[in-house]
């Protein structure tokens, strides 16, 4: 990015009308990818200068144990629902989960999920890192995920969405293909970086379950309805040029007993639509690249 400039120079303006037609495999109009965030929040992380990890003095029992629900209860609930409707996961992974709860990571691997990095912990923020520190977390991510899953990560969602001005250049330099941190489009877009070949894949904040439940305070049924509406519109518009819908999830939110049933109904609806391409993030990038 152009550090200090008003426009960070991440991408060119590229209006939605009259775009080149993207066609997804078998003529599908909307690529739907599900992005479970498999996270680990530390109970007593160091407190850096830029952001406080927990609102309460440590231990923040509710904050910590709420997220622990993912790794004891709701991960499998969410994953089973995805499996039943044929959606593979593309995982935004706190890579230290590979050490803390390898069973959860192995479960995703056994379901054929793709893994990308969401930092080491969701309680360590990139703000203020120097280049060597940032390289260390990227290299740690590549190695940790490789060792745990056999996969080389292709994507990045910054830990707790925290960045430095050099993050995108660095991940592109390490050969990563996609970033989930830019929210400017409903289609895959090229990102300008110093080297490499980086694309932005739509990863929604607005239909992220965190926004749905924690920001907008939706009921599970309202959230499920918003997913269906989001899909219907994007599938319609995708007739002109293929769109992308991401369903970003956190098991401790979507996997609560009062929400998971309505969520399953939304997935059932979307899965049954012939316009839906159930894809992994990497599949979407590959198909898009092949059409450039």
């Amino acid at each position: 990015m152009q550090e200090g400039a008003a426009d960070p120079g991440l991408y060119d303006y590229h209006p939605y009308n009259n775009r080149k037609k993207i066609t997804w495999p078998e003529g599908k109009t909307c690529a739907v990818w599900v992005a479970p965030n498999l996270e680990y929040y530390e109970v007593d992380p160091p407190i850096g200068p830029h952001r406080k990890p927990w609102p309460k003095p440590h231990p923040d029992v509710v904050g910590y144990s709420y997220r622990d629900h993912s790794n004891r209860v709701s991960h499998w609930r969410m994953a089973d629902v995805m499996d039943r409707h044929g959606f593979p996961g593309s995982v935004s992974l706190s890579v230290a989960l590979c050490q803390h709860h390898p069973e959860v990571v192995a479960d995703g691997v056994s379901r054929g999920w793709e893994f990308f990095s969401h930092g080491i912990y969701n309680t360590r923020y990139s703000y203020g890192m120097d280049e060597a520190q940032e390289r260390a977390i990227i290299e740690d991510s590549i190695k940790t995920v490789q060792d745990a899953t056999g996969q080389r990560i292709r994507g990045w969602l910054a830990p707790a969405l925290t960045h430095t001005p050099r993050t995108l250049d660095l991940i592109a330099e390490y050969g990563l293909d996609y970033t989930c941190d830019l929210y400017h489009d409903d289609q895959v877009q090229h990102v300008k970086t110093a080297s490499g070949n980086l694309a932005s894949i739509p990863y929604s904040l607005e239909v992220n379950d965190h926004y749905g439940f924690n920001v907008y305070g939706m009921a599970g049924r309202e959230y499920a309805d918003s997913l269906i509406k989001q899909f219907e519109r994007l599938a319609d518009e995708g007739e002109k040029s293929g769109t992308v819908m991401c369903i970003p999830l956190h098991a401790y939110l979507i996997g609560q007993p009062h929400r998971i049933g309505p969520f399953e109904e939304a997935l059932r609806h979307i899965a049954a639509d012939p316009r839906c391409w159930k894809a992994r993030a990497g599949d979407i990038i590959d198909s898009w690249r092949a059409q450039q």
């Binding site: 440590h58 509710v62 709420y66 009062h258």
Partner: protein, 305 residues
């Protein structure tokens, strides 16, 4: 300026948790649990009986639901009192009508100030769970060990003196604990707490104290007061939760707990109470449901470990 080098060091990066309070466990692969009479979903009704002094304290933090306006905040003080004078009796009647048992998490000050309310709770056969001294009795690591020990001891002694019974369970205000709370609760002879929301069955800390998870997400405070849904929408969520849990329990031949935390001044309002009454009647008639006190749930679980 770069960050301190320790910021990218991870001394607790290891298998299992980054703390020693309890062990990791996957609910779906644990030995199955069954409730009495082969019921599969225990419904843990937990009613908070809170006394908010009109003189709020901010150390270690101000409790959720506490005073808002400059002193004297008649508005919030009296609405909370409405819960203890009026609304809770609607709830007690609703429980009696549906034939269900609940646990009441009681500030010691409520027990001292309103003995007739405690009489009614006990006459209904409900459990009394300790819930600190009053709503100024919050806990966090910023307080000293001596202060915290005194708070827990004072809350338990005053509650026992006022109710004539020794509480087995503890609910911290806002479920907020310090690093020491789990040990202090054990030291004071408690059997379980409800503060950690990470599971849907009871589990045990390494020190022997049990935890009965009481979901924040499923509380009336979260759904009605924070997220601003209607009582009817809340009841729909409870039915959705019950349906999911009973199906999951059947598929896994194991059991689950559905926690339902109620606040009299919220769910006991005249325009909301019918949604609770209808829900209780509906769920009490389901063959999978077991309405039980926290103590009974923990005891049943313990007997199967």
């Amino acid at each position: 300026m770069s960050l301190d080098p320790s910021y990218i060091e991870y001394p607790k990066r290891r298998e299992g948790y980054d703390h020693d309070y309890y062990e990791w466990s996957n609910i779906h692969t644990r030995a199955p649990v069954r409730w009495p009479e082969d019921k599969s979903v225990a419904i843990f009704l937990c009613v908070s009986l809170e006394y908010f002094p009109i003189t709020p304290e901010d150390e270690p933090f101000r409790a959720p639901g506490h005073m808002v306006t400059p002193y004297p905040d008649y508005r919030h003080y009296t609405v909370r009192d409405y819960g203890n004078r009026v609304a809770v009796f609607r709830m007690l009647d609703a429980f009696a009508k549906a034939g269900v048992k609940a646990s009441f998490a009681v500030n010691a000050a409520v027990a001292e100030r309103y003995p007739k309310l405690i009489e009614a709770v006990q006459a209904g056969g409900h459990e009394i769970v300790a819930h600190s001294t009053d709503m100024n009795g919050t806990i966090a690591s910023s307080m000293s060990e001596a202060d915290e020990r005194a708070l827990v001891g004072d809350a338990l002694a005053r509650l026992e003196a006022a109710t004539g019974e020794k509480a087995r369970g503890w609910l911290s205000i806002a479920r907020s604990q310090s690093w020491r709370t789990v040990d202090l609760l054990k030291e004071h002879g408690l059997s379980y707490c409800c503060d950690w929301v990470n599971d849907e069955l009871p589990w045990r800390f390494r020190n022997g104290l049990a935890n009965l998870p009481l979901s924040v997400d499923l509380s009336d405070r979260q759904i009605v007061a924070v997220q601003q849904h209607s009582a009817e929408a809340w009841a729909q969520m409870m039915r959705d939760a019950f349906d999911w849990l009973s199906d999951e329990a059947a598929a896994q031949t194991s059991a689950r707990v559905l926690p339902m935390q109620l606040t009299p001044y919220i769910m006991g309002q005249p325009f909301r109470i019918a949604a609770l009454e209808d829900l209780l009647t509906d769920l009490a008639n389901r063959e999978q449901s077991w309405f039980a006190s926290g103590s009974d749930i923990v005891s049943s679980w313990e007997a199967q470990q």
